[in-house]
């Protein structure tokens, strides 16, 4: 490991529009933000709901507000800082949605804060996984809903009832957060039990550790490529990070 890498462990993130969005001419409604303040790591990933006409604005506002607020609260426990990020994102949606309705900018949101440990605040689907010594585990699963197209949103009246907070296990050396367009690629359901798929994350974390200069572009092409798009025409966002 070189000294630069020690100072800044690698991170990588990309959002791509799904085929259905391209067909309908709607923009990519996912958004993410990633910051590395003072040896910590803050990630926010949002997925604008297809049923909300301007959800791309909501997703973009949510991730910006969430990361800023989480950084402001880095003196707290990481899960608390993540929750503050989520609360700030809700306030941002209220501002963005004021002219129309907040439901018009509805989105999901995951906020991941890694400082002395990993803390997560999460509403809706998508998931956060952690890596430890080359093995992968689900840290925050998608919210439970019987039907695949129904999801809790940060814009709902009862949004706070659906917020989930999680704390990572000790020894986590990397995290990944992704939107529901990647559920099929990343998560396995074995007898109702959800697990992170080693066969997906193993190669990606190896890629991250040895990332080429155009890694971000390669990740975008992978997400839009045939292997991943075959079973999902939804927008896809993936953020990968090794922990400080």
């Amino acid at each position: 490991m070189t000294s630069t890498e020690r100072l800044a462990p690698p991170t990588l993130g990309a959002s791509v529009a799904g085929a259905s969005h391209e067909r309908r001419g709607t923009p990519c409604q996912d958004a993410f933000a990633l910051e590395r303040p003072d040896g910590a790591l803050v990630i926010a990933v949002a997925d604008g709901l297809g049923s909300a006409p301007r959800s791309e604005l909501g997703a973009a506002a949510a991730v910006g507000a969430a990361v800023d607020a989480a950084i402001d609260h880095l003196d707290r426990e990481p899960e608390r800082a993540a929750l503050e990020g989520l609360v700030a994102a809700r306030e941002a949606l209220e501002r963005v949605g004021r002219c129309g309705r907040i439901a018009d900018v509805a989105c999901t949101l995951m906020v991941v804060v890694a400082s002395e440990r990993v803390g997560i605040a999460h509403i809706g689907d998508g998931a956060v996984i952690g890596s430890r010594d080359g093995r992968f585990a689900v840290l925050s699963p998608p919210g439970v809903s019987e039907y695949v197209n129904e999801v809790d949103s940060l814009a709902a009246d009862d949004w706070f009832d659906h917020v989930r907070c999680a704390v990572g296990l000790d020894g986590i050396d990397g995290v990944a957060a992704f939107t529901d367009g990647l559920h099929h690629a990343t998560l396995r359901k074995d007898a109702g039990h959800l697990t992170a798929h080693d066969g997906f994350f193993g190669p990606l974390f190896s890629f991250l550790c040895d990332a080429p200069d155009d890694a971000e572009e390669q990740l975008m092409r992978l997400l839009a490529g045939p292997k991943i798009s075959e079973h999902s025409d939804d927008d896809k966002t993936l953020v990968l990070a090794l922990l400080p």
Binding site: S20, L49, G50, S51, A52, A103, A106, E146, Y147, V148, N149, E150, V151, D152, S153, A155, A156, D180, H183, H184, A185, T186, L187, R188, K189, D190, G192, H197, G199, F200, P203, L204, S206, F207, D210, P212, Q218, R221, L222, G225, K227, I228, E230, H231, D233, D234
Partner: protein
Amino acid sequence: MTLDALEQQIEIANPQHPHCATVLALDTSGSMHGDKIRQVNEGLTAFREDVLTDELARKRVEAAVVTFGSHVDLAHPFSSMEAFAPPAFRADGSTPMGDAILKSIDAIRARKAMYRQSGTDYYRPWIFLITDGEPTDMHPGDKLWDQVVAEVHGGEAAREFCFFGVGVDPANMDILRRICPPERPPVQLRPGRFRAMFEWLSRSQRHISASRVGERLALPPATGPDGWAEITTG
């Protein structure tokens, strides 16, 4: 590492599409004889063809058919649209609608259990009932009636399925309204608009199979000047 190598190396965890299941509960009693049953048969073919034109929906939509006439029959078990080939139905017999509704609900429950067991994601299933009469196997207040109404209203309220009732003239709309869930009253088919109704059904299924909702899903309009349905009040 090159992109191609990376794409080759990753494994997809769960390479299957979520499924979207509909039971068509069709009245094949004697009164459907002639033009009506012919239009139902043609409508089923058009429904299949229309879903197949949609690249995503064709991998996600599944349908089954329950008929009620001379007897109640799971005339076509759940299948993909590619394998959907219901026989041409003939109309005869009475209208055992109560048993047909229970059979449709059973089919939905069995399908969901199969999805859960195989780890397949799914959308909220539909029961789409078409009748031109009134049930002959149950009457308001008898045991089967109470059971059917409780199952339909309870299943809709618990979001187990969506129940749609369509009356074809001269259906008893008052009875149909008492069977259908209060949150989704039945509609009456405009004369001869079977084809438009099946087009709406396939359009709705295509819409759902590409949807993601926070609150409510907006379906294509069924009523209105170009629609196939009329809302009757009573």
